[in-house]
Symmetry: C2
Subunit: 225 residues, 2 copies
């Protein structure tokens, strides 16, 4: 199988691309165990065997889908982080700038097209709730490195704060981010109509603000233990 930009391979990739998109949609909605090869094939208007032909197995298919969705976001994060570092004359970045670079790319990707809005938010949230083994591996593969980057950046910006407190509150910030994404779909029901569910960026903006102040107030507070 040759992968290039000829017209033929483009056409070859359409079913593959449809399968990936169907996988993303169904994985976000039903999780790994709730996703079946038949449901993916039906959603993608393709044959069941085609899915196994292109990816080899269910595991590999879902993993490939996750890789394609997550990596651009992580690249954008580091891009924004470096942008903030360069455009800043001060020694260290503000907490807001750091969390902005972490969270904003998610908003960009969610808002990129209407179809994937709720899908991507749920999808990313699921990668942290699904306990399946390959997802844990994927988690270590894709997120452990970036988590370390952000820990170091925060530690640099908050000298004198015990590393344990940095860890705790970065953990809380990331948890808030993922929780908010996972719950985004439910916001409309929850408020009984008081919030429009498709307002992505206002939510993202409030989320960044929320975790920034939770983090800053948290690490400066004297806890009993």
């Amino acid at each position: 199988m040759i992968i290039n930009e000829t017209q033929t391979t483009k056409h070859k990739q359409t079913t593959r691309k449809r399968l990936i998109e169907a996988t993303a949609r169904l994985f976000a909605q039903h999780g790994y165990n709730g996703l079946t090869m038949r449901s993916v094939a039906e959603e993608a208007r393709a044959n069941i065997a085609a899915a196994n032909y292109h990816f080899g197995s269910k595991d590999a298919m879902v993993l490939e889908m996750l890789r394609e969705r997550v990596q651009p976001i992580n690249h954008r994060r580091l891009e924004l982080l470096n942008q903030a570092r360069n455009h800043n004359s001060v020694k260290h970045l503000s907490t807001y700038e750091i969390f902005h670079s972490l969270i904003f790319p998610l908003g960009e990707e969610i808002a990129k097209n209407a179809k994937s809005r709720c899908s991507l938010a749920q999808l990313i949230a699921r990668t942290f709730t699904e306990p399946v083994q390959f997802i844990e591996k994927m988690h270590h593969q894709f997120f452990s490195q970036i988590a370390d980057t952000y820990y170091r950046e925060l530690a640099l910006s908050h000298p004198g704060i015990p590393s344990k407190e940095i860890y705790w509150h970065l953990h809380l910030a990331v948890s808030s981010m993922l929780g908010a994404l996972a719950q985004h779909r439910r916001l409309y029901d929850f408020t009984q109509g008081n919030c429009e569910e498709n307002e992505v960026f206002p939510l993202i903006e409030r989320l960044i603000h929320f975790v920034t102040h939770g983090f800053e107030q948290g690490i400066n507070h004297k806890f009993d233990q």
Copy 2:
């Protein structure tokens, strides 16, 4: 089937109780679709048919398990909320008091016994990520009422704040709470050993503090939209 406190019914309930506990453990670990009747029966050292005998179906069994775990927590929440209302001479409660009554009961239940620690945290988080229909119903049944209670309490404590902002930031606070619970198990890996994973109450305390300040700073901030 007679349910009372005779010795016989006690013995009758042991397998039923073992099934409920196994259901909780496996549901927390693998979600609804990842939980199988056979795995529950095996974990509970019981027969597959016994599960269907006691509960009728997989749906009913999981639902009953959730009911037994969630309701005590909600009762405790309202208890703490009323306690704060009575012991307080001021007109309205502080944001901290409100979120304390919302979150602290979770910590109590999680810390109640070592076995259910991670289990309960994940379990509750799953009830908000699993999209299965009966869980959504259960969500409306168990949580919509208490969500409304907390919205009204927060609105009462923050006069002049648009109800939309109250909704947004209560949503963020609840999302943070659930996200933190869902991620609690992963904290140890995440920090590569810098945080002891079994410190429940320190995390809970920081979580309450985190969402309190995120909420208060959030609703008082002027957002573009």
